[in-house]
């Protein structure tokens, strides 16, 4: 018996001592995070290759006698003639709940100084998006906490909603608000002990952002208590373009883990314009043929394969994507903008003019749309805000015409007045998302005309007073709205009575 075991052990020892085959090449040129390598005849497309000094690369260009690789990591010590070896593996990043509350780089390495990450699993950075059969239609709401969005441009779990606008119009703020709101909902839901409650975990991917901006975002999330439900993937502007290129895919892999394991996740790509620029830089150095605006021919595929990974899976979880695109002078018809608009399930367009007028969030209702529509809304929101988008669109049209003449009939004046009130009501400060039940209460008061007697300049104060009244004195009613998620006759009567009570106290 022991002889047999010894024979097997000898065979194992023999095999273990056997030589390892490696396929190698030598760096011919290295520039701007891209290396051209002679050799590597066995390398596969997208395979990870090992550079000296611990840097790794991804084989992107397979040519007759050379390979083009993007290098991730420190390229300062690489030089012509250095040996590069294939690994036979695809680039992977750590995934799982261990990443929550952490800031990592494009490869999943911690950069927050909080020690190593104890991740049990890793997922490949590049994955094929879920197919048609495993997908389920989007029908569960993902509340952003921003009244204008939740009531008029609702976002569902598994949806891809683009946030587009010029610089400094509040694109990042909307996403940070959404992340904070998820954390707030998670805390309430987990504290309630409801077994059906599904928390939403967030991933914020910063692509080409200034380090100071990333630090500000982390601070905002930390102060709001949202960091514990969030992973930040940081590929700042100072990183080499390869890191910027790979960062959103790494974030998507981290989000997919939640989706595959029956959980819900939200991912923010901030922003894909800079991602496209990084990819253009890599492509030009790789000498790929360039097309419109010098972007390579596969720039559409760059974003479509990324955003298609966001989905709601049948019997599993979901991954909701909020990509951001920065426009120049409000031009939504630019190359990358139109590409991403056509890939996503809707867009939230932010206007500089509105922002400068003090209407914040500066959402242009006319140009914003959610293709999922009311399927991703709870019944209560539909009941109180179903006609809002149409009303606001009419208001904008009337307001444009009203500029030409001063003599307006009473009906038009009333419509304009109501529109102005709605616009005022939707103003919301940054980093203070509203719970959906409070949104329902405010919209109910608006629909029932409780803001009609209030002077337009005081509508914001009145809304703040109403919110404060409901949170401090009508908590039970808010809980009832949240749990029922629809307004029945009884709830409507209670809301009416509460609004009456507030009206008398506010007037007094």
């Amino acid at each position: 018996m022991s002889t047999v075991l010894e024979q097997i052990e000898q065979q194992i020892a023999k095999l273990s001592a056997r030589g390892v085959k490696k396929n190698t090449g030598n760096i011919r040129t290295v520039a701007d995070g891209v290396a051209k390598i002679d050799g590597l005849s066995d390398v596969m497309y997208n395979e990870m290759v090992q550079f000296p000094g611990g840097a790794i690369g991804i084989a992107l260009n397979l040519e007759e006698d050379e390979v083009g690789c993007v290098i991730l990591g420190d390229i300062a010590n690489l030089k012509e003639g250095d040996e590069v070896t294939t690994t036979g593996r695809l680039l992977s990043v750590p995934v799982g709940k261990a990443l929550l509350g952490r800031t990592v780089d494009a490869l999943g390495n911690p950069v927050d100084g909080k020690g190593p990450i104890d991740a049990k699993e890793s997922y490949p950075v590049e994955r094929i998006a879920p197919g048609v059969v495993v997908r389920k239609s989007v029908s569960q709401a993902l509340f952003t906490g921003i009244m204008a969005i939740d009531s008029m441009i609702p976002i569902g779990r598994g949806q891809r909603e683009l946030i587009i606008g010029d610089r400094g119009t509040g694109k990042t703020t909307i996403t940070i608000d959404t992340i904070i709101n998820q954390a707030k909902i998670n805390k309430v839901g987990l504290a309630s002990g409801d077994p059906k409650f599904r928390p939403v975990y967030s991933i914020y991917v910063a692509i080409g952002q200034k380090n100071s901006n990333i630090a500000r975002t982390i601070t905002a999330l930390e102060e709001a208590g949202a960091l514990e439900f969030t992973t930040i993937v940081a590929a700042p502007a100072a990183d080499n373009p390869a890191n910027l290129y790979i960062a959103p895919y790494s974030g998507a892999a981290m989000g997919e883990w939640f989706m595959e394991n029956g959980m819900d996740a939200l991912i923010v790509y901030d922003d894909l314009s800079k991602h496209a620029v990084a990819y253009r830089q890599i492509s030009l150095i790789l000498k790929r043929p360039s097309g419109r605006e010098a972007y390579p021919g596969d720039v559409f595929y760059l974003h479509s394969r990324l955003l298609e990974r966001a989905a709601r899976l049948d019997g599993k979880g979901s991954l909701t994507a909020l990509p951001i695109i920065e426009t120049l002078a409000g031009d939504v018809s630019a190359y990358i903008s139109t590409n991403v608009i056509s890939i996503t399930d809707g867009q939230i367009f932010l206007e500089t003019d509105l922002f400068n007028q003090g209407i914040r969030p500066a959402i242009s209702v006319g140009l914003s749309v959610s293709r999922v529509g009311s399927a991703a809304q709870i019944k209560a929101t539909k009941q109180v805000g179903g006609k809002l988008k149409g009303e606001l669109a009419q208001f904008r049209e009337l307001a444009a015409f009203a500029q030409f003449g001063s003599d307006l009939d009473a009906k038009t004046k009333a419509q304009l007045d109501r529109g102005n009130r709605i616009v005022e009501l939707f103003k919301q400060p940054a980093y203070s998302p509203l719970p959906i039940e409070l949104q329902v209460a405010v919209l109910f008061a608006m629909q029932k005309g409780f803001f009609e007697p209030v002077d337009i300049r005081k509508v914001v104060d009145a809304a703040a007073s109403l919110k404060s009244f409901f949170t401090t004195r009508k908590d039970a009613l808010l809980v009832e709205i949240r749990t029922k998620a629809a307004l029945d006759a009884d709830l409507e009567a209670k809301l009416q009575a509460a609004c009456e009570e507030w009206k008398s106290s506010f007037a007094a």
Binding site: D38, G39, S41, D42
Partner: protein, 131 residues
């Protein structure tokens, strides 16, 4: 400049194709190519010849098994390695010994781009990268 490099690369590749006869680099053909370049002096000759040199060197490396070793290697071992590589690559491969103390012990065989590592230094390197 970029287009010059591209044209030089294409010409070098043409020369290289002419230099390979029956799957091996022919010294007569190489001499012919060099004579042609000497006579006609194509544009960017140096660039062309550098690219040609790289292609020929890569091809010649495929027919040679460079055996780096830390200890002594006898002729029988070299012959066995040459036979094994000839069988594996289905083309004649000659073995050349090259002493390398950096390996500490064992062998490293290089045929073209492929490296067969069974040295102590290689194993230590693999261990270090896996920790």
């Amino acid at each position: 400049m970029a287009s010059h490099a591209k044209i030089a690369e294409q010409l070098a590749r043409q020369f290289f194709r002419l230099s390979v006869v029956a799957g091996a680099v022919s010294s007569e053909q190489v001499a012919g190519v060099l004579a042609y370049v000497e006579k006609h002096r194509p544009a960017n000759s140096v660039m062309v010849l550098k690219a040609y040199h790289r292609l020929v060197a890569a091809e010649l490396a495929k027919a040679e098994a460079v055996v780096e070793h830390a200890g002594a290697v006898d002729d029988a071992t070299l012959a066995a390695i040459a036979a094994a590589m000839t069988k594996r690559y289905r083309r004649p491969v000659a073995a050349t010994a090259r002493p390398s103390a950096a390996l500490l012990a064992g062998l490293r065989v290089r045929v073209g781009d492929d490296v067969y590592e069974s040295s102590i230094a290689g194993q230590l390197e693999a261990l270090a990268s896996s920790v």
